[in-house]
Symmetry: C2
Subunit: 313 residues, 2 copies
Amino acid sequence: MSGVHAPWTAPPALPERITIREVGPRDGLQPEEPWPAVWRAALAESLIRAGATTIEVAAFVSPKAVPSMADPAAVVRKVRDVLDPVDDPVTVVALVPNVRGAEMAAEARVDALTLTVSASEAYSRRNVRMSVDESLAQVAAIRAAIGDDLPVDTVVSCAFGSPYEGDIAPAAAAEIGRRALDGGSTSLTYADTTGMATPRRVADLLAETGTDVGLHLHDTRGTALVNAFAAMQLGVRRFDTAVGGLGGSPFAAGAGGNLATEDLVHLCDDLGIATGIDLTALLAISAQLAEVLGHPVPSRVAAAGPRSRLHPE
Amino acid sequence: MSGVHAPWTAPPALPERITIREVGPRDGLQPEEPWPAVWRAALAESLIRAGATTIEVAAFVSPKAVPSMADPAAVVRKVRDVLDPVDDPVTVVALVPNVRGAEMAAEARVDALTLTVSASEAYSRRNVRMSVDESLAQVAAIRAAIGDDLPVDTVVSCAFGSPYEGDIAPAAAAEIGRRALDGGSTSLTYADTTGMATPRRVADLLAETGTDVGLHLHDTRGTALVNAFAAMQLGVRRFDTAVGGLGGSPFAAGAGGNLATEDLVHLCDDLGIATGIDLTALLAISAQLAEVLGHPVPSRVAAAGPRSRLHPE
């Protein structure tokens, strides 16, 4: 009775492939108890072996402010030690908050930088203690400091709304992105930091930004996957995900994580959309991750197994 | 900075309204510790006050086999006592497994019956101890016993696959539905009993069944909402949901529940799709439900609150 399915052809056309930026070793582990740098590097390496080609491995932030991200240069060096000898085309990414972090990341030989600018003034002031204008000024300052070699992706946080101001107008979020490009950012990612996006809000934002943007979705309200699906239908080809669905606010543990890499890969596998990531290998990493963390990861596919898993007889 | 959004017009067109069959008092509570009939009726009444117009309140099954569904006639009578005096257009539904159950349900004055036939031979034999053929024969026997007055909706379980056989061919699932119609069923619902559906599998099945069917989705792998969204795009207008996302296999507690009513209503509210259900009232019921059950409900919207919830200052 096993079904043979034709490729899914329902309109509108879904893409043949998408690019996933794996943010588990950085964004995913940030709210967890600190892991030593070698463990974070080992996680990154296993994700690369599973097929991740763009991976955020570290944040060059103050270890006092964010102990879980200490020793970022050591993480990058360890990953480079594995990649360099085989001339691997993997893009090693680090988050940087300012010029000092960008300089350290460049010195550590990352391939690309991400930095965050919030579309919410209140969120910006509370979370990075800078106004949105001050935060945008970092983009130009970083570009001036590091030159033109490194790509810089600006992640516009709270792009779909903020828990302080409520909805953020799509035009206002898009304007933050435009100003980041003006400051020297090479690409943009719009983040649903607090899970307020819906397919309609995604469409509204894309109408302002165009579809050559990345999306960074959170599953706070169980909408990350439907938003990713709608975004793929509308033309988006770049997504941030975290193995296990880790990450998100430490004040909403288990409920607010990132879109889980395995959940998106599981969906894309069945829709015939290539991600380059091997689901079986990924689920093994995710299971090991849950063991090391000592708590289940939020991903539902991690909990239930892939749709092909049969009942043990 | 609050955004004013035009109605979402991204292709393909979404419906103006859908019909939700609330199955929380029956399917949702079935795997829980038994509740007295008056509590189940009270839950149904509160859901009706929140706007549910079609609601499965009871199962006329053996109380020895399913203690949580004992006294179904008492539940129906209590709900009727509230509805009848106000001439309420609510459709009160009961699940029946056989002729005896159907006769009892008819006598209790339900408005409609549901019965389940599995698309999976192995699942059918293990769960209702009947072959699929024997189960289909119940449809005709029930219709013969109760006459033509009551609508009978046949729920085709494991329509997207079974944990025993794996994938079920869409044509095979559709054929079970056709045979149920031949036997006197008035409508069909296809159930993703074990969370194996994806948007592509939904499209494949609808290509065989047409879109004048209901869908009963489970969130085992976090795909219930994206499947509902894809189904709405493809023309489906009837969905089963359970308040809180309760229900599903007791062997996968917390991970395999029904599509949560609040998750679908939350999505539809933002997409401008009418459900008739008041989200605020529903979330209050859901919160109370979690308190009475003594465990959180699976719904993510129940956990995080609606997208409009601002940070408490």
